[in-house]
C-alpha cells in the first residue's frame, strides 16, 4: 500500500505565478509526481511552525512535470489566511506537502469520447485527466464554467488539449451566459460523449450528475468537502454515498473519494444525515449490512 500511497515531503517551491484570478505554485516533489494519478489532491501546511493555523489546506493537482526529478503544480484563489500565506511564498521556500491523496479518476480501457466539465478553480484536476485520456486515444471535450471571464480557468490550455472547449459564465462576460449544464447536453450530443468527468462546487456536480442520468451516460465526479486531515483519520469530510448494496453510508471524501460515480452521491442530501443512512438516528441494526457496509467504508 505504502508504495502507491501518499508521502509527506518538505518541498522546495520552484515558481509562484499568477494565472488569471488564480495563483499557481509549482513545487519539486519527485515522489508525489511519480505516484500521482489524475483526480488526486495534495494537502499543504500553511503559516509555519508557530502559526495559529493548524489544519492543512487541500488542493487539486493541476499539472505534473518531469523536470527536477518531478514537479507538481496546484492553482488556488486567495480565499482566507491560508491561501493568502501561500500566495506570499517565493521560489526556494520550503513548504510541507502531503500527496497524492484520494482515489483517482478511473480511466476507460477503450478510446471512448469523454466530456470534462469544471467550475471555477475546481476545474484544475481536469487538465492532467485530459492528458491521460488523450494518451489513451480518447476524444476530450471541455465545458468550463465560471462566475466571470477572469475566473474561467486555463481557457488556452483547454483549447490546446481538447477537441472542443465550451465556456460558460454567469455574467456572460465570456462564452455562453449561464451554467455549464446549459451547454452540456449539446456538447454531449455533438461529441457523442460516452462518459462525463466533472469537478467543481457541489451544486454544479449535482446538476451534472442529474444531466448524466437523464442522458443515461456514466459520470465520474470529484467532490469537495471541508477536510481536517485529508488522510482518512478524522471523519470530517463525509458525503452521503449509496453503496453497491443500495445502502447509504457517510463516506469520507478524502480517501473513499474525492472521485465517486455521479449517481452514487446523494447530492440533495449533502450536509445532512439521510434518515435511511447506515447508523442514522433511529436506524435499525442489521448485522450483515453493517459488516458489508464497513468493509467498503474502510476504504
Amino acid at each position: 500500500m505504502s508504495d502507491s500511497g501518499p508521502v509527506q515531503t518538505r518541498s522546495s517551491v520552484l515558481t509562484v505565478r499568477r494565472v488569471d484570478a488564480y495563483h499557481a505554485i509549482t513545487v519539486v516533489a519527485p515522489q508525489i509526481a511519480e505516484r500521482f494519478r489524475s483526480g488526486q489532491f495534495l494537502s499543504v501546511g500553511v503559516g509555519g511552525e508557530h502559526s495559529g493555523m493548524l489544519l492543512r489546506r487541500p488542493f487539486a493537482v493541476h499539472d505534473v512535470k518531469p523536470d527536477y526529478g518531478g514537479t507538481v503544480e496546484f492553482l488556488f484563489a486567495v480565499r482566507g489566511p491560508g491561501t493568502a500565506w501561500l500566495a506570499e511564498r517565493r521560489s526556494r521556500d520550503l513548504i510541507d506537502v502531503v500527496g497524492p491523496l484520494g482515489r483517482p479518476f478511473p480511466l476507460p480501457r477503450d478510446p471512448v469520447n469523454c466530456v470534462l466539465v469544471g467550475g471555477g478553480s475546481g476545474a484544475a484536476p481536469l487538465f492532467p485527466l485530459a492528458h491521460a485520456l488523450r494518451r489513451r486515444g480518447c476524444r476530450v471535450d471541455f465545458v468550463l464554467g465560471a462566475a466571470s471571464a477572469d475566473r474561467v480557468f486555463s481557457a488556452i490550455s483547454a483549447r490546446r488539449v481538447a477537441e472542443t472547449a465550451t465556456f460558460t459564465t454567469d455574467d456572460g462576460s465570456f462564452g455562453v451566459r449561464g451554467r455549464v449544464t446549459d451547454a452540456l447536453d449539446r456538447v454531449v450530443a455533438d461529441a457523442r460523449s460516452d462518459v462525463i468527468y466533472a469537478c467543481g462546487p457541489m451544486p454544479m456536480l449535482g446538476r451534472v450528475a442529474a444531466a448524466a442520468a437523464r442522458m443515461d451516460i456514466p459520470a465520474q465526479v470529484a467532490v469537495e468537502e471541508a477536510m481536517a486531515c485529508g488522510t482518512g483519520v478524522c471523519m470530517s469530510c463525509v458525503v452521503p454515498v449509496v453503496g453497491e448494496d443500495g445502502i447509504t453510508r457517510m463516506a469520507r471524501a478524502c480517501v473513499d473519494g474525492p472521485v465517486f460515480r455521479g449517481e452514487r452521491v446523494r447530492f440533495d442530501d449533502v450536509g445532512t444525515i439521510p434518515f435511511d443512512a447506515l447508523g442514522a438516528p433511529g436506524w435499525k441494526a442489521r448485522g450483515e449490512d453493517a459488516g458489508g457496509a464497513a468493509e467498503r467504508e474502510a476504504g
Binding site: 495559529g52 493548524l54 471541508a226 483519520v233 464497513a294
Partner: protein, 315 residues
Amino acid sequence: MNPDMRVRLAGLELANPVIAAAGCAGTGRELARFYDIARLGALATKSVMLEPRAGRPAPRVAETPSGMLSAIGLQGPGIEVFLQRDLPWLRSRGCTTVASVAGSGADEYAALAARLTAEAGVSMLEVNLSCANPAGHGRDFADDPAEAARVVAAVRGSAEPELPVFAKLAADVPDPVALAGACVDAGADGLSMVNCLRGMAIDPATLRPVVAGGVGGVSGPAIRPIAVGCVYRVRAALPDVPIIGTGGVRTGADALEFLAAGASAVGAGTVNFADPSACVRILRELAELLEERGADRVTDVVGAAHRPLGTVQGR
C-alpha cells in the same frame, strides 16, 4: 545511549509513552500508510459503540486559533464490524491497542466491555465519558462525577480483572480532581485526560454556526495549558493513579510538559491531522530531549513539576 522509553500503565507495559489518541487515528490503516504503527506506544481506537452510527452532518470541522472545532458525532461501524475487521487487522500489525468505548448508558458500556474483554489484541479499555447522558438534560456522563462513576463501575464490572480500564475525563469541569476521584473509587485503574472542550465557531459572513451540529469539541494546542493543568492537579491529589495526558501535544517538548505534570503516557490527537507522521516524530523528539537531559529512563521525568501547589487566589 538512548533512554529507556518503556512505561507502565496499571500493569500494562508500553514500548514508549506516545499513544495515538482516540478518534484521531482512524482504523490504523490510514496512518500505516505513513509509518509502521507497531512503533506507537499504543493506538486508541475511535470510540466503539454497539451499533453502527452515522454521526453528525457535514461540515463537521472548523479551524480555530491554534486549534480546531469538531463535531463528528461518533460515526462508526459498531462493535460487530470492529471485531470482525478492525481489531484483527491491528493485531496482525502488532499494534498495541486501546479500545475506546462509548455508549448511551451504563448497560451499553458494560455490554461493550463484555464483548471486548474476551478478545485477543485489546490491551486496555478507555471509557469515553464525553457522551450525552440521556438522563442528564444535555449533560455528558463526565459532567457529573456520580454518573461517570456509574459508567466506570459498569465497565470495570464486566471486564476481566487483569484488563486495565482507564476513564477518559473532560476538562470543562470545575473540579477535575473530584471527577477523577469518583472514577478511581468506581474501579478505574487509570485516567485519560483530557477530551475536547465544548465550544462553537460562528461564520462571521453567514452569522451561523460553522459546524452543522452547532456545539462541537475544541482540541489542539489551544487547549494544552488547560489539559496540562488538569493533569497536574489530579496527579497532585492522586499521585499513584497512572494518567494518559492528552490535549494539544504537537512536539516532543509538549509531551515532556505532560510527563512533568504527572502523566505516565501522552496522547496525541489533532496533531495527526496536521502531520500524518506526528506520533513517530514526537517520539523521536522526546527521546532526543531526554537524552540531552541525560535521563536514562522516560519514567525519570514523570511528575517532575510537582511542588506543593499554592492555592489559586483568583485571576
